[in-house]
Structure formats: structure tokens, C-alpha cells
Symmetry: C2
Subunit: 213 residues, 2 copies
């Protein structure tokens, strides 16, 4: 027995892809299991491939398009199989493909998968605080309401319109264009563009109100 050998296991990858759609989040469940239940994209890394590359490949193959963001979340080891879970965010598809399951109905995927979905949503909410990922889910020109809808879908709560815009303006992250878009009812909205910016090191005091769950 070689020294420091350790356990051997099969490596698998699960990918939870989320897409904001009209203020709600949907989960991508492209495959049908033998019992007719929907399931997440899954696969195995190829020899020499990194986990990140494998997850991107698996996601792309299942989706047909690239993901806007993809990050490793957690790894679990069960019965000789190590499963690395990735979460990703995807721009809203305009389809009504049943593979896109509203987040609230994720319970139909079973308890284990439902847990994966909740972890993915928590991870995605964290990305919003740390990265400009929301802008990757939008076309080059977008309305501030579009942007806010994405935040609301991922955070799962309504945001204050004026505060959202003030914070956005003071971060100088968006620049108005001269175009306006009429979305049917209501006043047309001005279109904005994302202005990439060196992250400002935000050092603010310590927060003692940790979140639940």
C-alpha cells in the first residue's frame, strides 16, 4: 500500500443554473430521469480538465449558450463518489421551455436537489455584493428597472427604487444613453450602459447582524 495513498472516488459535477425571469428565479433542469423526474445538468471532468473547465463545458452543452457566471460552491463525498457542485447565472431565455423550472417549484426535484438549489441561490446573492455579475445578464443597453428586477429576482425581495438608483449613480457604474425604450404600458424608460470600473475598496465598519440560515 503506497504511503499517503488515500481514498479513490469517482468525480462528478452538478451544475445549478439560475436565470432571473420577470423578477423570479428559474432553475435549469434539462434532463429527464428514468422515473420522469427532471434533473440538473451533470457530468464528469475529462482527463486533464480542470473542474471549472468541465463545469463550463457541461453547462454549455446543456444550455446551448454560455453562462454569465459560474462558480464552485461545495463538494460532497458519498459512497465512493465525490460530487463538485457549481452554481451559475444565465441571461433570461425567452422561451417557456419546461426545463426552466420556477424556483418555488424546486421541491419537485427532491429534497437533496432542492437543497442544492437553495445553496446556489445563496451563492448567487453573494455574487451580487462582490461582482458586477448582474450586468452580464443584460444586453449592452438596459433600463434601470431591468437591472433592479434582476437584483430582486436573485435576492428574493423587493428593493426600494429610489435607493437602488441613488446607490447605482453614486457608484458611477452606469451611464445614460440617449435612447428610451417604450415597453408597452407606462412611461418609456431611459437606457443605460454599464461602465466597468476599478472596484473601490469599500472599507466600512463591522456588521454584527449576521444573517439567518
Amino acid at each position: 500500500m503506497p504511503r499517503r495513498a488515500g481514498l479513490r472516488a469517482t468525480i462528478r459535477i452538478d451544475v445549478v443554473l439560475l436565470a432571473p425571469q420577470r423578477g423570479r428565479l428559474s432553475v435549469f433542469t434539462p434532463t429527464l430521469e428514468p422515473r420522469g423526474r427532471r434533473a440538473l445538468p451533470s457530468g464528469a471532468p475529462r482527463s486533464g480538465e480542470s473542474l471549472e473547465a468541465a463545469a463550463a463545458r457541461i453547462a454549455r452543452a446543456a444550455l446551448g449558450t454560455s453562462v454569465a457566471w459560474l462558480e464552485q460552491v461545495t463538494t460532497r463525498l458519498e459512497g465512493g463518489q465525490a460530487t463538485v457542485m457549481f452554481a451559475g447565472l444565465v441571461a433570461r431565455p425567452d422561451t417557456d421551455d419546461p426545463a426552466w423550472l420556477p424556483r418555488e417549484r424546486a421541491a419537485s426535484l427532491g429534497a437533496a436537489t432542492r437543497r442544492l438549489v437553495e445553496d446556489a441561490v445563496t451563492a448567487a446573492a453573494g455574487w451580487l455584493d462582490r461582482t458586477p455579475v448582474a450586468f452580464r445578464l443584460l444586453p449592452g443597453a438596459f433600463t434601470l428597472s431591468d437591472l433592479q428586477e434582476i437584483y430582486e429576482a436573485i435576492l428574493g425581495r423587493a428593493l426600494h427604487k429610489a435607493s437602488f438608483r441613488r446607490a447605482l449613480q453614486s457608484a458611477r457604474l452606469v451611464a445614460p444613453t440617449k435612447e428610451w425604450r417604450s415597453e408597452g404600458r407606462g412611461r418609456p424608460a431611459q437606457l443605460y450602459r454599464f461602465v466597468p470600473r476599478a472596484p473601490r475598496a469599500s472599507r466600512r465598519g463591522v456588521r454584527f447582524d449576521w444573517l439567518s440560515s
Copy 2:
């Protein structure tokens, strides 16, 4: 070849243990590699053992004491070996054991390990925002300066004393005892106890000043 077989790999676990010590962070490097270089605790899960249980066992065996907090950070796959990295926080040991390497000198561990250490520090800073982990690094009674020192060590920056205390008081997380501790020089400090509390769902606006790196 069985269907959906996938790649097989050896599973290993690396543990980055951090301890605040007088406002600075140290990394636990108990083992000596053949070349004389210090290295992180490492090991393999046993058959049927979860990754979390294995990491806790490996940390405990290397330390001799339990860790205050331990969480999975990331998994990488290289050359037929999957390595799951855990980060942990430990109460300050009163030793001057050279196994406790000041964080600034982590460069001597090599570029790869240094990266692991930086990732662990980032993870630990995140825990401070989400969990009462700092209190686990202190005895039952502690001074507010002790607590602030832990925050400063992990966050890597000085905090405003009055703000720190105000935030702490308003969160009602600590209760003063009737004891005071004299630490040699200076005015004695009042001792406090941690008051566990149901986390207050803090829903505040969105932040657009994401952090660098």
C-alpha cells in the same frame, strides 16, 4: 465501460488553520516536508467518512485541540488527485511554536500554498460578517479590546474603537460582567460575555462597491 462512469481520482484534504495572535494572523504549518519546508495539515478521508468529518479529524490530530470553525472553501483537480481545501479558525495558542507561521511570512510556503492561505483569510473575513465565530475564539469572559483585536487580525485592518463598540452594543450581543481585568499597563478593562441571539434578518439596500481581488 459502465455508463456515466467518469473520472476516478484520489481524494485528499488540505486544512488551512488560522489563529489571531496579538492583532495578527498566523497559519498552522505543523509538518516538515522532505526538503525542510513547512507544510499545511493534510490527509485523506476514510471510507464512509464525510469531507467535513475528515477535515475536522485531520485538524484535530494536527492541533491537539478542536477548531472553533471549519468550512470547506474550494476543490481542485490536478493530476488524478482531487484536493478539497478547508479553512478553519482556532483560538490563539499561547505557544511560540514555529509551526505557527505569521501570515506575512506565508510566502515561504511557496506560491500555491500562499494562495491557499489568502483564500482562507478571505473566507474567514466572510465568516465574521455572517456568524458569531469571533466569540468562539475567546474565553467565556473577555474584554471588548480582545474582541476587536480578533476582528482586526482577521480583517487585516484597524477598526474604529467607538464605532466597533456602538455596533456591538446596539446588536445586544454582549453583556457586561462585574469583573475587570488589569492587563499590566493602563486602565483595567471590563469583562463581557457573549449573549447568543437569534440572528436579526438584516435587509439593507444593495451595495455596488464590490471588493477587489
